[in-house]
């Protein structure tokens, strides 16, 4: 059987982390292809509903990443994102998901290398955890 390849959805803010992923691209910094990026304007725009949708659709892990506290285009988006993320962490248990499937990051525009490293780490982590139990449950139901 082929090795389990986790699927990751990364919600990234337009101004910092999305740009960091762009920089990883222009600098040709290679990282695993397991991640799919969804561009949002601000990490504070990420609704828990979006994260649940990702898990419901078969994601094994979700990254929510945006600017640092001092870089935010909207002044305090990261603070709002933190608050949302704290609520989210409490809620994922309901789905039978481990907290480690969620990752909150602040990656600034110039940190392409860090973006690549975060994806690598997340892939490693998810390989250890195995496929999302929620996905397995959905598949049995279907």
């Amino acid at each position: 059987m082929a090795e389990f390849e986790p699927q990751i959805i990364a919600f990234t803010c337009n101004w910092c982390t999305y740009a960091a992923a762009d920089l990883a691209g222009t600098s040709r910094i290679h990282y695993p292809a397991n991640v799919r990026i969804v561009r949002v304007m601000c990490s504070g725009m990420v609704n828990p509903m979006y994260v649940f949708k990702a898990f419901e659709s078969g994601a094994d892990g979700v990254i929510v990443a945006g600017c640092n506290y001092t870089d935010c285009h909207y002044i305090d988006g990261p603070v709002k994102c933190d608050a949302m993320f704290a609520r989210l962490k409490k809620m994922v248990h309901v789905l039978g998901l481990e907290e480690e499937r969620l990752r909150r990051e602040m990656i600034s525009t110039s940190e392409g290398v860090i973006f690549a490293r975060v994806v690598e780490e997340m892939v490693e982590q998810l390989k250890k955890l195995g496929p999302s139990p929620f996905k397995i449950k959905m598949e049995t139901l279907a």
Partner: protein, 663 residues
């Protein structure tokens, strides 16, 4: 709703995408997706023929949605939105899939890349299905410009704009404009005197009818956005009557209280009431309230300045009761030109800065050779003797993994300038310790050659240490510079009377605060980040905020001036256009769902939503000029009434679901 007809365009980008993605297969796959009526791949979608494909298909296939899969939307989304508009489609009926930066350039397995690209294209198709046309609104641009920082960059930018007869507010936190350039003695490679070329520009700033100079002031708060910024500036109390002070300097002469002068890099003292240097603009005295004994004793002691001021500019009232003023400005654009700090070489203990009297930084040596400086232009050791040998150490804190990895760009050249000045003023031998000589500008290489001919000794090698531990008779009483001469391949010891450290240029210590004030980003090295390193070097990710000079990274005076003029041109072109396009992707309220709970109002940083009574029902209303579209309100809205246009739940959810869809 009319039938959705989507056109999909997959770009090869030469081999940038096609090299690691099977673009034809992706285009074929896209054609099988629901509502896709045409799907193509093309070598360069951003080219005119590429854009024409879109425009023609909009007509031929009556497309009402377009997806382009190519580079980052941060690069070409505006291009394709524009192509849609030219084809007669609302620009928001477009979606972009980033298959280059986020796929073909970062993963190498063609099969996996092709599958990932299909996912990204499928998600874009599913998302664009739910897109809605948005109205594009415009707003006027306030023609005033704020320039922050009164060094050569800020001065040049302010003059360029003011000469176009547009109002400039120039804010400088020090008592006078001039920045680091006014501290310099001569400028390489022409050796023209820095003061002589800068002071006319400073005087122009002081007199210009279109420049309002706010020296000894700092920006406290910035709100609003491009075209309509609101800025609060703290004008610090000088503790004198500025309208009466004539800058005669008698108060300074009579004041008995002294501290080391920051302008003279600690080589001379300044008084508690002072003008930092002779050509200061504005020519006003400033009282240092921490040092002034009259202020500290609450008027019980001293008061010499009050007694001697003929103009009656200094009174007990100004000294004791004058407070900072807050000035509110409205501007359409901002140029940040806040400069650099000199690296503190005392953090490299082996170079002995701060330990040995005759180890100086570059800026200290600049003051020493300046005719108006602390030694009256003489190169002197601490004990008043003239040095017999001088060592100049390059790359102090630059090109060094322990401090700054970057090259500070100006040190090689000013190191050469020092060698020339030492040769001119003294009979001393000069030793330049360098890693590489980087003499890249106009006339720079020629200057290097000239110095070689003037007899400066060049030693290629990084200095290990500066010590006073003599081992030979010749070394006694001298500083010994220990280095490896990498050309000879051996350790050498060079006795010198004076050592000059070419200290790095680094980001200002408070660059984080300034970045946060103007919503700038910083690079890993601490300097401010430009929008595009090559193609947009003075713009920043924040529209309407430009950067110039050393706040963006080390550079010499010619580059700084060029960049300042470029920033001024950007500001002027904005003023000339007179209007900006407002963000369309902002919040809107579904009033049928809103229960007027006010959570949106509570969370919004920009005070855009407000709960109001409409026909007796409490509902939220969004002020569209204040909303930035960050989306925080929609997250906290418990009824789903608050929606961000272009980022509505069905748009994002369909994209998310499609990305992980198991086929």
């Amino acid at each position: 709703m009319e039938e959705v007809k989507i056109g999909v365009y997959v770009c090869h980008c030469g081999l940038n995408i096609a090299g690691t993605v099977d673009v034809e297969e992706v285009a074929k796959y896209a054609a099988t997706l629901p509502s896709v009526v045409v799907s193509r791949d093309y070598r360069y979608m951003c080219s005119d023929p590429g854009q024409d494909l879109i425009k023609n298909d909009i007509k031929e296939y009556v497309l009402n949605r377009v997806v382009v899969a190519s580079c980052s939307p941060r690069m070409h989304e505006p291009t394709f939105r524009n192509a849609c508009q030219e084809g007669g489609l609302n620009p928001y009926l477009y979606e972009h899939a980033n298959i280059r930066e986020h796929c073909s350039w970062v993963h190498d397995d063609k099969k996996i890349n092709t599958e990932k690209t299909k996912d990204l294209v499928r998600a874009a198709v599913k998302r664009v299905y739910h897109h809605e046309p948005l109205e594009v609104k415009e707003a006027p641009v306030n023609p005033n410009v704020l320039v922050v920082g009164g060094g050569i960059a800020g001065i040049q930018a302010a003059l360029d704009i003011a000469n176009g007869e547009k109002r400039v507010y120039l804010v400088e936190r020090e008592p006078s404009i001039g920045g680091h350039m006014i501290q310099l003695d001569r400028t390489f490679p022409t050796l023209d005197c820095s003061e002589c070329i800068l002071t006319p520009k400073m005087a122009d700033v002081g007199h210009h009818p279109f420049i309002e100079l706010l020296a000894y002031s700092e920006v406290e708060e910035v709100s609003g956005s491009i075209g309509q910024f609101k800025v609060k500036v703290r004008k610090k109390a000088r503790h004198i009557d500025e309208s009466k002070c004539v800058g005669c300097g008698i108060c300074e002469e009579k004041c008995p209280w002294k501290v080391p002068s920051a302008f003279e890099m600690g080589l001379a003292m300044r008084k508690a009431i002072y003008i930092p240097f002779a050509q200061a603009i504005p020519n006003l005295v400033t009282v240092d309230p921490d040092l002034c004994v009259y202020i500290q004793s609450n008027g019980k002691k001293c008061g010499a300045c009050i007694k001697f001021c003929e103009a009656k500019a200094i009174t007990p009232e100004t000294l004791l009761n004058q407070t900072d003023q807050i000035i509110e400005l409205e501007v359409g654009s901002i140029i940040v030109a806040t400069g650099y700090d000199q690296f503190d070489p005392s953090v490299i203990p082996q170079y002995g800065y701060g330990k040995y009297d005759n180890v100086l930084t570059g800026l200290q040596f600049e003051r020493m050779t300046c005719a108006a400086g602390p030694t009256g232009g003489k190169v002197l050791l601490k004990d008043g003797r003239e040095p017999e040998s001088v060592a100049i150490i390059h790359c102090v804190g630059s090109r060094d993994q322990n401090y700054h990895e970057y090259c500070s760009r100006v040190c090689c050249m000013y190191g050469l300038k020092y060698a020339h000045l030492i040769k001119e003023f003294t009979k001393a031998d000069v030793y330049e310790f360098y890693i590489d000589m980087r003499c890249f500008g106009e006339g720079y290489e020629e200057f290097y050659k000239r110095l070689s001919e003037e007899g400066a000794n060049f030693i290629r090698g990084k200095v290990a240490k500066v010590t006073d531990q003599a081992v030979t008779e010749e070394e006694k009483g001298k500083l010994i510079v220990v280095a490896e001469d990498t050309l000879l391949g051996r350790l050498i010891r060079v006795p010198a009377d004076m050592v000059i450290l070419c200290a790095a240029l680094e980001a200002r210590a408070d660059a984080d605060k300034v970045a946060s004030l103007f919503t700038l980003n910083r690079r890993a090295d601490g300097f401010f980040l430009e929008r595009h390193v090559k193609l947009d070097p003075v713009a920043t990710p924040t529209d309407g905020v430009f950067i110039a000079g050393c706040c963006e990274g080390p550079r010499d005076i010619p580059d700084t001036v060029a960049q300042a003029s470029a920033a001024a041109a950007k500001a002027l072109s904005l003023i000339s256009k007179g209007k900006i396009t407002l963000e369309s992707a902002i919040a809107s309220v579904d009033e049928t769902r809103c229960i007027g709970c006010g959570r949106c109002e509570e969370i919004c940083t920009f005070h855009a939503p407000k709960v109001i009574s409409k026909n007796g029902v409490m509902v939220s209303e969004v002020n569209e000029t204040l909303c930035k579209g960050c989306g925080a309100c929609a997250v906290v809205c418990s009824t789903g009434a608050m929606l961000i246009r272009h980022y509505k739940p069905e748009q994002i959810l369909s994209q998310v679901a499609a990305l992980t869809e198991v086929l």
